[in-house]
Amino acid sequence: MSLNPWVWIAAILSLAIFSYLYKDNPAFRFAEHLFTGLSVGYYLVLYYNNYAIPYLITPLTEHRWITLIPMALGMMYLFRFIPKLNYLILIPIAISLGFLNGMNIPLVIEADVLKQVQGTMINTSMLKNIWDPQNGLIAGILILLGVVSSISYFYFSREHKGALKVSANMGIWFVMIGFGATFGYTVMARVSLLIARVQFLFTDWIHLIK
């Protein structure tokens, strides 16, 4: 067994959290509240040291008064609590949105739209290796069919009849396969976290796993 008191604390708190799997109990609630309190305290210090000090307090102590403008904009969010001046929070929101959209839109269109449309197209290079699971012709046809049929399922301006019905039904299958793959990955993620905790308890704490 470990002689490190921190390992013991971590192990006991892990078991307290796991105890919820049996039923809700005071040990679980203690660990839950401790975690919440610690996280809030930790983040408060973290944000103060990493955001407030370098970007606000230090520049102001060095008489860089231009910092007062973003500070005033930030503080305008507090008008939310004054009903008569509530509308003033639109100013910082508008600036943030304008800045983020200006920064994002051209790049997102290139990366998310143009490149993805390009990736859906079948091209002559796919003929070189027809069966390549990533860049072969068969994979290309499947991707094209999957994208077109999945989009057609979400086309609601016309009733799903005839060719549109066939395509929409095929789209459901592609969407379901996508959901299945995502669900499989999600299960693996949760199980991985559990495995890591079990490894910690049985390796670091009681030294049963070598």
């Binding site: 370098p54 790049l107 490149k115 995502t182 990955y185 991985s192 905790r197 079990v198």
Partner: protein, 283 residues
């Protein structure tokens, strides 16, 4: 028989948890090994890193994650760093997450000691700077401006390995390890805008979101969840860069058996549901 089958639809959740713990614990206790194939996305990332010239342009490894997903991402970080240090590839470490900062420093220090690598010469770990996208964009014009101090508060100009690093053009690739959408932001703000190659190490929950970017080549490769870490561990062991597989490989049999159990329970649960509906209908 039908009554017995109908009970599978209403299994006590505590029994399910107990079975799951047992399926995870038994392979770990008895070191049961399982075979797994290496995914094309992992191989793509491995091949790209393997082709980086020793002592040439460095790899930028960004630890963009929090402790709650460290179980999945720590093994990836260790495996990639072992690959780089064994091959003589220089590494720039950084984090866009305040909590990832300390995690990254711990891992890079530990692995660098295994290979006798020196900070500032073979690798540099930068201090956390808030800003996310702004930092990514700033690095496109000046890494020094975006990251002026290393983790130990040494100024940029005093770090020998950073003397020839000005912007993304001097970096071989960016590898973002994250449990959120940071790799996507790297694709947008560094890959698309500055044409630097991007790789991702993602938690299993986030990994499927990146497949469209892998298919279009916007990502050179990806490590998905603990399996991605295990695959990379296997690749560096097979290539002789490291002597033994790490914790992710040891966990693979537990993952495999727990998944079999979950599939079995889903099938039995469905059978139980339909049988109990049939029994209710016959009443």
């Amino acid at each position: 028989m039908l009554k017995l089958l109908s009970k599978f639809g209403k299994l006590d959740r505590r029994l399910v948890f107990a079975l799951l713990i047992a399926t995870i614990l038994i392979p770990l206790l008895f070191s049961v090994k399982s075979h797994f194939y290496v995914d094309a996305a992992t191989k793509g990332l491995y091949d790209y890193i393997d082709n980086i010239e020793p002592n040439g342009r460095p790899l930028l490894l960004s630890f963009d994650y929090d402790p709650q997903v460290a179980a999945e991402l720590d093994p990836m970080a260790r495996a990639v760093l072992r690959h780089c240090f064994a091959k003589g590839i220089k590494v720039i470490g950084m984090s866009l997450q305040p909590q990832g900062d300390a995690i990254g420093e711990g891992i890079i220090t530990q692995v660098s000691r295994e290979f006798g690598k020196k900070p500032g010469i073979d690798y540099t770990y930068f201090d956390f700077r808030p800003g996310g996208y702004i930092i990514m964009l700033q690095m496109g014009t000046s890494v020094k401006q975006a990251l002026p101090l290393d983790y130990y508060q040494v100024p940029y100009d005093s770090l020998p390995m950073m003397h020839n690093i000005h912007n993304y053009g001097d970096i071989a690739m960016v590898l973002s390890l994250a449990g959120s959408t940071w790799p996507y932001s790297w694709i947008i703000f560094a890959g698309t805008k500055f044409k630097v190659k991007i790789g991702a190490g993602q938690t299993a929950v986030m990994a499927p979101d990146n497949y469209p970017f892998l298919q279009t080549g916007q990502l050179v490769g990806q490590l998905g969840g603990m399996k991605g870490g295990a695959e990379y561990e296997q690749l560096i062991v097979e290539a002789g860069y490291y002597k033994k597989p790490g914790v992710a490989s040891k966990a693979m049999s537990a993952i495999a058996y727990s998944h079999i159990l979950i599939i079995l329970l889903i099938v039995l649960g469905n059978i139980g549901y339909f049988v109990s509906r049939q029994l209710e209908g016959s009443k």
